[in-house]
């Protein structure tokens, strides 16, 4: 080969590479309709099981559950893989497009919707008609898909409900009754106003954190986030504007740490240092405080989440989906049911601050024991479980509320809360921008 030949080869390779990449770019994501697997009645075969960030903390627990299952069904071989949380959804969708989804897959709320919307998940209600009664209704209902009929597309696994945590001492200092925590967003703001009036700047009521607060607060106030077809945002309402006005007013009065408008990652430190009245709304946090700030822990009270009249609460729910075209449907279904059964879920919640979605699991005395009503961790467990039993609806973030939508809305809210923009036009601009992003995403 001569030099000119070499050049030619190099150029050809480059061109080929470029073409290859453009064609790869042009590869469209529209996967063909997946064929549904059939039941055979024989629980056998090799299945893959993917979990979301459970290694290494819960390796022995998960492996124990798998081993017990394999012992009961010797014809089934379960291959377990654990994937870190970062980029989990992206990996799932890429795998779905490549036809490489695992047979049983751990889904978070948003990954459930992503795979469900693409028709990649088996209808588990159809697989087993009697299944529904095993789970808490609130958790079971979560796994329906809007516009897809009566189907339920995942086995509910562990859940973490939103709760309310607060500092009793600071409540009393502000002249508030610790026995009567706020139950609606409006009351929550009223409490914050009282706290700000008496704090003298020594402590704040809550973190502004618009990114974390929305769209949950609006949902609780009854603001419709999306229209029926879920293709347009409709949150530009009087209630949403009222929310912004109150936030703005409270921010000016010092009810929130100034910097919390931008970031809230120091919430645990602030609460632990007694500089914040309302702590984070997750049961896991109570455990953190117990370990890191025992003095504040002793003053911590736990109550049901702020819900408003509609009874919405935020539930962070994990589930197990079954790949629709799995080759071993019976084995996959039996395994998912095994992992999410009462005893296995209760065992899991003894190891982590989570709650079973299984009705029998939740009925375990562990979850109704309030002790002497003073230990925040024990009360948190009971309060969370109580809410799970009764909560009919949830205030989860719809998938349409993407990171970009959240950022765009939050930018307008920040300006309004700081007083640089009128609340009414802030909400209007936020909705316009959110709809533009939604339309852009749908156009492709």
């Amino acid at each position: 080969m001569t030099r000119s030949n070499l050049t030619r080869t190099a150029v050809a390779t480059l061109v080929a590479g470029t073409l290859l990449s453009t064609s790869a770019c042009g590869l469209s994501g529209g996967a063909a309709e997946v064929e549904e697997a059939e039941r055979t009645g024989k629980v056998s075969g090799g299945i893959t099981f993917r979990t979301l960030q459970l290694k290494p903390a819960f390796t022995s627990y998960v492996q124990g559950v798998i081993d017990a299952f394999e012992e009961e069904h010797p014809d089934v071989e379960v291959r377990w893989e654990d994937v870190p949380g970062d980029g989990y959804n992206e990996k799932l969708v890429a795998d779905a497009q490549a036809g490489a989804l695992p047979d049983v897959v751990n889904l978070s709320t948003d990954s459930f919707q992503l795979l469900g919307d693409r028709g990649m998940l088996a209808d588990v209600a159809k697989l087993d008609g009697a299944l529904a009664q095993d789970y808490v209704p609130g958790a079971w209902e979560q796994f329906r898909l809007p516009g897809k009929g009566d189907g339920v597309y995942a086995y509910p696994w562990y859940v973490t409900p939103e709760i309310l945590t607060y500092n009793r001492e600071l409540f009393e200092k502000s002249g508030l009754d610790p026995a009567e925590p706020p139950t609606s967003v409006e009351q929550f703001f009223d409490h914050a106003e009282r706290i700000a009036a008496g704090s003298g700047g020594r402590y704040a009521a809550f973190m502004a954190d618009p990114k974390g607060r929305l769209p949950g607060d609006w949902q609780k106030m009854g603001v419709p986030i999306l229209n029926e077809k879920r293709d347009r945002f409709t949150f530009d309402t009087g209630k949403a504007v009222e929310w912004v006005e109150r936030m703005k007013d409270l921010y000016a009065k010092g009810a929130m740490p100034r910097e919390s408008l931008l970031k809230s990652d120091d919430i645990n430190q602030l609460y632990g240092a007694g500089k914040l009245v309302f702590g984070p709304g997750s049961p896991g946090f109570v455990k953190d405080i117990k370990q890191n700030a025992p003095q504040v822990y002793a003053k911590t009270r736990v109550a049901g989440a702020v819900t408003g009249t509609l009874g919405h609460i935020g539930i962070y729910a994990q589930s197990l989906g079954i790949r629709k075209d799995t080759r071993h449907l019976d084995a996959a279904a039996a395994f998912a049911r095994w992992v999410t059964n009462g005893p296995n879920q209760v065992e899991f919640s003894r190891k982590a601050t989570i709650y079973p979605s299984n009705a029998r699991g939740l009925a375990d005395p562990l979850f109704s024991d309030r002790g002497d009503g003073k230990d925040a961790e024990t009360v948190a467990r009971a309060v969370g479980a109580e809410q799970l039993k009764s909560a009919a609806l949830d205030a989860n973030t719809p998938v349409q509320w993407t990171n970009q939508v959240g950022d765009a809305v939050v930018r307008e809210m920040q300006k309004a809360i700081k007083g640089e923009q009128d609340p009414r036009s802030a909400v209007k601009k936020a909705q316009e921008e959110a709809n533009r992003l939604l339309a852009d995403a749908a156009a492709q």
Binding site: S28, Q97, P257, R258, E259, K263, N403, Q444
Partner: protein, 347 residues
């Protein structure tokens, strides 16, 4: 490569007399065979064929050097050149993270120019550069002159000034956050001394947030560029200072008339390097100003905007690529400006 070149001697066909050849120079010769061919194509090839026939000791193919170059070349192509080319291609499509796009011409660029967010970010990036670069060119020089003095224990000072460079950006950001927050060190002291009546919004006002981030960048860069200057100062001949001192020049005069002209090439280098890193600033603003990049995103720089646009499920890869290309062009302009300045200096 260079060792081989030297062994080969002058690259003329005449130097290839078969008798004078050692195996070493033979290897070198085939390396230079191509250069030679350029000058005397036909003759070179014949001579080469003859040579290979009569030594026959080491058979070397034309591709041997490429084999040695291959590992490096493959890495560079795979991780630098290819992604760059791909970014250029993507910038003309409406690709998203998980979906390939179609060709949309200059639509992404048009969108960027019509997007007020882009202009704010570009303005912030340029402002960052305009403020930070002079600080990072002059302050480390002053610091280097100070710690250049040979007094006992000066090593401690040098190390101390270098410490922020070693500290991770996140740690530095957190420290400064505690210094600058509304209930942080600076504000507490100022409030106690009644210098201010309201906390200064270092982190909650877009402009102040940018200034705070600049302070962190400069503080972190001081030690780094100080080392550059220490090396340059070591090369300034002591005789020049002596001569100037004999002529009656004072310390200040000697600094401006001897030191500055002598380290000027280094100043230009530092200027270019710090300009490039100023245009790439992200971490400081992210840590101090949170995910949104200041209230209402008012303190976002171009890299910040690119990350925000391109990240996550709805990430607009095409648009983010176009923004990256614009950032690249901006960086290129300032780098060329730096080069022009240094060229002018040499003549």
């Amino acid at each position: 490569m260079s060792a081989v070149d030297e062994a080969a001697g002058p690259k003329t066909p005449g130097s290839k007399t078969p008798g004078s050849k050692t195996p070493g120079s033979k290897a070198a010769e085939s390396e230079n065979g191509r250069a030679a061919r350029r000058e005397a194509a036909g003759r070179g090839r014949r001579a080469r064929a003859a040579m290979e026939a009569d030594t026959g000791l080491v058979h070397r193919s034309w591709w041997t050097p490429y084999l040695f170059l291959a590992p490096g070349l493959v890495m560079v192509c795979l991780f630098s050149i290819w992604p760059f080319a791909n970014t250029v291609i993507l910038s003309f499509t409406d690709a998203r993270i998980l979906r390939g796009g179609t060709f949309v011409g200059f639509a992404n660029y048009a969108r960027a120019f019509a997007d007020p967010g882009f202009w704010v970010a570009a303005g912030n990036s340029v402002l960052y550069l305009v403020v930070v670069v002079p600080c990072l060119v002059f302050l480390p020089l002053a610091l280097a002159v100070l710690v250049q003095t040979k007094i006992p224990g000066i090593g401690i000072f040098r190390s101390a000034f270098y410490t922020p460079v070693i500290a991770s950006a996140v740690v530095v950001g957190l420290i400064w956050q505690w210094v600058l927050r509304s209930d942080g060190l600076v504000n507490t002291v100022f409030l106690k001394l009644s210098i201010v009546s309201e906390p200064i919004p270092f982190l909650t006002d877009s402009t102040m947030l940018l200034v705070s981030a600049m302070i962190v960048t400069v503080w972190k860069g001081l030690g780094y560029y100080m080392v550059f200057y220490l090396a340059a100062l070591g090369n300034v001949p002591a005789s020049l200072h002596e001569a100037a001192a004999i002529d009656g020049a004072g310390t200040v005069r000697r600094f401006f008339s001897i030191t500055v002209p002598q380290v000027k090439p280094m100043m230009l280098l530092v200027g270019t390097l710090s300009a490039i890193s100023a245009l790439r600033v992200f971490t400081e603003i992210y840590i101090l100003g949170g995910e949104s990049g200041g209230p209402g995103g008012g303190a976002r720089t171009l890299p910040f905007l690119i990350r925000q646009v391109g990240l996550g499920f709805a990430g607009e890869t095409g648009y983010a690529s176009a923004l990256s290309i614009l950032l690249f062009l901006l960086t290129l302009v300032f780098s060329l400006l730096g080069r022009r300045l240094s060229k002018g200096d040499e003549t």
